[in-house]
């Protein structure tokens, strides 16, 4: 029944499929990022209260949502790895961890930089901020656990278990602003779906940057995963062939 899943889980297939796709993704990503950032940082009129500071939103929000999304994706991969023993899923999860930690750290940094002018403090122990900090700790813990094992196989499995345990943090982050009266604002401002009065010229650059950062994540993810695949399958026939053909080209 799960035959198709296993076939999709073939590292070779993944590698072949992404070979053609990757350059396009990269181009689109950079296009989106450049347009979005130039528009958002340069042309959108300043906010009537925060002035230019609010432009940090164009980085902060995608980074924050991205970090959470990456964790969710990593958790799905971990589940697939645990349940169906799909190696590719683990390779992807492994690539996710470092990227997620980076996004998470950037969310924290941009958030604090934004917090100083708006709230009057870089840091406050508010539920959302704290739970985001925990997310960063969890990302790092997962990487630390994986690298503590000598046996790669056990390390992957252990990291998967911890990833799944850490999932409880995600709803806490998201709903923290609902469950508690936090300083951090509630859901929904630049969101397209939002009912709020934000005009399109405010949220459309965010849309671009957001898509761009998602694209950036995926192209970085694919690159890292491809490296992992080559490393893992280095003794397999197809990688050997690939390497010799590369050498011939050079």
């Amino acid at each position: 029944m799960w035959q198709w899943l296993y076939r999709l889980g073939s590292p070779k297939l993944f590698y072949d499929m992404t070979t053609g796709f990757l350059p396009w993704l990269t181009i689109v990503t950079y296009f989106l990022l450049i347009v979005g950032l130039v528009w958002g940082l340069g042309f959108v009129p300043p906010d009537y209260q925060m002035g230019d500071n609010f432009r940090i939103a164009y980085i902060h929000i995608p980074m924050s949502v991205g970090a959470m999304g990456i964790y969710a994706m990593m958790a799905c991969m971990a589940a697939m790895h645990m349940i169906w023993n799909i190696k590719l899923a683990d390779l992807v999860a492994r690539s996710c961890a470092a990227l997620g930690a980076t996004y998470c750290a950037l969310s924290l940094v941009t958030g604090s930089l934004w917090g100083k002018p708006t709230w009057g403090t870089y840091w406050i122990w508010d539920a959302r901020l704290t739970s985001m900090l925990i997310l960063l700790f969890v990302f790092i813990a997962i990487m630390a656990l994986r690298s503590a094992y000598d046996s790669e196989n056990s390390g992957s499995k252990a990291a998967s278990v911890l990833t799944l345990v850490g999932v409880v943090n995600l709803p806490i982050i998201h709903y923290s602003v609902v469950w508690w009266n936090t300083l951090h604002q509630g859901d929904s401002i630049l969101g397209v779906s939002s009912q709020s009065a934000n005009p399109p010229e405010v949220w459309s650059p965010a849309f671009f940057v957001g898509l761009g950062l998602i694209g950036f994540f995926f192209q970085a993810l694919i690159r890292r995963t491809r490296n992992e695949i080559l490393l893992h399958e280095r003794r397999s026939q197809w990688v050997q062939q690939l390497l010799t053909s590369k050498q011939l080209q050079e």
């Binding site: 959108v44 009129p45 300043p46 906010d47 009537y48 209260q49 925060m50 609010f54 939103a57 002018p117 708006t118 709230w119 009057g120 403090t121 406050i124 508010d126 539920a127 469950w179 508690w180 009266n181 936090t182 300083l183 604002q185 509630g186 859901d187 929904s188 401002i189 630049l190 939002s194 709020s196 009065a197 934000n198 005009p199 405010v202």
Partner: protein, 156 residues
């Protein structure tokens, strides 16, 4: 029943029961309230006693901010949740976003006179972003509405 099945069933039942109790307890907790700051209404209801450290959250009442002292660093204003008011006193530099009509969160305690002595003031920003032009346009619209309402003899 087959013993292995029975074991599995026991585990599943246990987890189900656990989830139900968890959800139940969480509901109890929400009924009790978990807020990390108090609204002026709650303060007025006497939920906090004088001298206790707590956090208050509300809006800065329009026209209530008074700055004194040499550099205007002795500040007094009224925090409101439109229902009840609490006056707040603070000495220090305010965050840039501290504006009348905007959200504010303050740490501190109530003195004997029921004045909130703040040790830290944080500005809470709302969810709406707009450019200055849009804002003034909106404000103009509101003022017109208000004037119209006044003219009609209603209180705003």
């Amino acid at each position: 029943m087959h013993p292995a099945r029975k074991q599995k069933l026991m585990i599943v039942l246990f987890i189900l029961l656990g989830s139900m109790v968890t959800v139940g307890l969480i509901l109890v907790a929400f009924n009790e309230g978990l807020n990390v700051f108090f609204t002026p209404t709650e303060v007025a209801e006497g939920k906090v006693e004088a001298g206790q450290n707590f956090r208050i959250g509300g809006m800065v009442k329009m026209g209530s901010v008074v700055k004194e002292g040499l550099e205007g660093t002795d500040i007094e204003f009224i925090a409101t949740d439109t229902n009840k008011d609490v006056s707040v006193r603070y000495t220090g530099v305010l965050p840039d976003l501290f504006r009348e009509g905007q959200g504010v969160v303050a740490d501190g305690y109530l003195d004997e006179n029921g004045v909130f002595q703040a040790t830290q003031i944080l500005a809470k920003h709302d969810e709406n972003y707009m450019s200055a032009e849009v804002k003034s346009a909106l404000d103009a619209g509101e003022r017109k509405q208000a004037e119209a309402a006044m003219a009609a003899g209603q209180t705003p």
